[in-house]
Symmetry: C2
Subunit: 79 residues, 2 copies
Amino acid sequence: MARQNKSEPIKFKIEESIGVLSSSTNGWQKELNLVSWNDQPPKFDIRSWSPDHLKMGKGITFSNDEMNALKEIIQNAGL
Amino acid sequence: MARQNKSEPIKFKIEESIGVLSSSTNGWQKELNLVSWNDQPPKFDIRSWSPDHLKMGKGITFSNDEMNALKEIIQNAGL
C-alpha cells in the first residue's frame, strides 16, 4: 500500500451511515459509519463528525473481525 | 473540572478489562476496557495497548449512554 504523503489531505468517503451514538449541543455527532480512507475498501469507523461531515474528530476504525468481536464482547459482558 | 496541564502526563487506570477485539503480531491488542482518566469516573474505552499496558494508541471513549446506543445500533443493523 502506498504511504500517505504528509502534504496531501487524507481522502475519505462515508460509504454508509449506520447509526448515531450521541449528539453534542454544537451539532457534532459521534457516529458509526462505513468509511473508505484513501480509496481503500470501507472499514467500520466510530468518530465525531461536524454537522456537514466535512470535519472529523479522533476516532477508531474496525475490521469486520474486530466489529464481530466487539459485538460478542458487548453481548457476553451484558453491557 | 480542572484542565490538564500540558506539561503533566495523562493519568490513567484500567479499572476493568472487558474484552479483546484483536491482537497484532507485535503483541499490541485492541481492547474494550473501563478506564479512569485523571482520577475521573471510569468510561468505556476502545484503543490499542502495548502488552504491558503502559503504552497506548489512539482510541475513543464512550459514556454509558453511548455504549448502550452502540449496542442497539450493532444489533439493529444486523452487523
